[in-house]
Amino acid sequence: MLSLSQFKTMVAAAGVDIRAGEKRFSELDAASGGDGDHGTAIVTAFNAMAKAGGDDFKSYLKALSDALQNEACGSTSALYGAWLQGMSDAAPEGAAELDAAALAKVFGGGLEELGFTTRARVGDKTLMDALIPATEALVSAQGGGIGAMFRQAAEAAEKGAEATCAMRAKFGRAKNLGDRSVGPRDAGAASMACIFAAFAKTVK
């Protein structure tokens, strides 16, 4: 079982690692032809999320989504906002603990909602390259328990993020760059992998 307080610790741990990577995320954004602010945006998002509270998963995830949409700007606001909203929608009413199946449903619901917000899929050099395989891995690893779910998700996210190096951007600010976007890791995929890595190392 994953308790809400465990999950809050995981979010806080992700915030620590995201803040440590701020400069790198902005540099990756600029290096692949974006506007060089993803670090700023994702840190702002985590600063906003740090203010969210809630006594069960549903309301906490909703509070995360709202705080983020209210205070964060740019693509991150909409993308993370939708992801967290989808997770909240899929969370069972009033639960302060999730078993493996419920957890899989929550992450599945997040990805589904995000899929309505963006048309990007695997191969488009966005955070979806990390999140889609991470979510699939997390869902498939249900049998192995919660620790395994996050470990496998983190591995998949990292592999997915690494794969973006070879891709050309098709969505977001870097899309007009064509071949010049090939080389660096996508900034959004990098921060997403960083979040799953923090989740994995904190959950155990």
Partner: protein, 332 residues
């Protein structure tokens, strides 16, 4: 090493610049709810309202065009970052009216996602709002699908056109129709000589080699793919006018508007020299230009470069351009 910019805490840039705008142009605009810029004196609520959204760091755009004859409100994000959907929804609620609202969204991922969510929520609440999306950047090729063309400074003359139509008491359908028609007949191409410094994180964006320029650069320094050795002003104008003419379809006998939008460090001297050649080329094709503009409308921090905006005008567009306007940065 501090940035070579006159700023205070980088976290407060947007808040402080908006306060400055409201203090400087106190007769024209004011700030509500921290990130929404509205007119000092609201427009008659029987008329269609015009609202737009977008990141800061592009001053005077977008908020400098709030005022009589143009926008009713601009919803501001952070530097180069769209506002979140809740702020946009808040502005739409503020301007809810039977006459309806036009929301102008520039085609950038963040703006589109926030606008779409806000529109869905607003429509659920019964707010009568229609969206016009601008995507007139032809840097990826004239034939690029609309969804893949960015919205650049062409939004500014669009604000003028639909602002005038709304002010004249036209219906929501009419305002949207005149705006969509204008939007389809305009095209923008950008060129950059240098990158710029992101004022929040101090990072440099879009660095260019000493002897190169880039045609097609985006509004936040996103690369455009057209790197070339530095061309003269006349060569640059020629290279830009040809695809703009193709994209807008202007031909002999047509009336058009030509604007040169400086993106930062490029001087008015240079813009005027480029305008000269572009105007001569259009004249040689038999295109009649109305009074145009060379200036900074939508900047990319101190990036050296400019956007050239060509708009084929129908008679009603030309009429709207001439109508009275009293905003901080567009007066007519």
């Amino acid at each position: 090493m501090p940035m070579k910019k006159f700023i205070n805490d980088p976290a407060n840039l947007t808040k402080e610049l908006l306060e400055g705008l409201a203090l400087c142009y106190s007769g024209k605009v004011k700030i509500v709810s921290e990130k929404i810029v509205v007119r000092a004196t609201p427009k008659d609520s029987g008329k269609v309202a015009i609202v737009t959204l977008g990141g800061a760091g592009h001053e005077p755009a977008l908020s400098g065009f709030v005022g009589e004859g143009l926008l009713d409100a601009s919803v501001v994000g952070d530097i180069f970052a769209a506002p979140g959907a809740p702020k946009v929804l808040e502005a739409l609620r503020m301007f809810k009216r039977d006459a309806g609202i036009v929301l102008v969204t520039l085609n950038h991922a963040g703006d589109r996602m926030s606008a779409s969510k806000a529109l869905r929520d607003a429509q659920k609440e019964g707010i009568n709002v229609r969206e016009i999306v601008t995507h007139e950047d032809i840097s990826a090729g004239v034939d690029t699908p609309e969804e893949d063309k960015r919205g650049l400074a062409g939004c500014i003359p669009l604000y003028k056109i639909i602002g005038a139509a709304a002010e004249a008491g036209k219906s929501l359908d009419e305002v949207v129709e005149i705006g969509e028609r204008f939007s389809k007949q305009m095209a923008t191409l950008a060129v950059a000589m240098s990158g710029c410094t992101h004022p929040q994180n101090g990072g440099t964006i879009a660095v260019l080699p000493d002897d190169e320029m880039e045609i097609g650069m985006g509004q936040h320094g996103e690369a455009g793919g057209g790197r070339t050795k530095i061309l003269t002003a006349d060569e640059t104008a020629e290279r830009m006018i040809a695809p703009l003419v193709q994209a807008t379809g202007v031909k002999a006998g047509d009336t058009a508007l030509l604007l040169i939008n400086g993106t930062g460090a490029t001087t008015h001297m240079e813009m005027l020299i480029v305008y000269r050649k572009a105007a001569q080329l259009l004249a040689s094709k038999g295109v009649k230009l109305v009074s145009g503009g060379c200036g900074e409308y939508l900047t990319v921090q101190e990036m050296a470069g400019f956007q050239m905006i060509l708009c084929k005008l129908d008679a009603d567009h030309a009429e709207c351009l001439k109508a009275k306007a009293r905003t901080p940065y567009w007066t007519a």
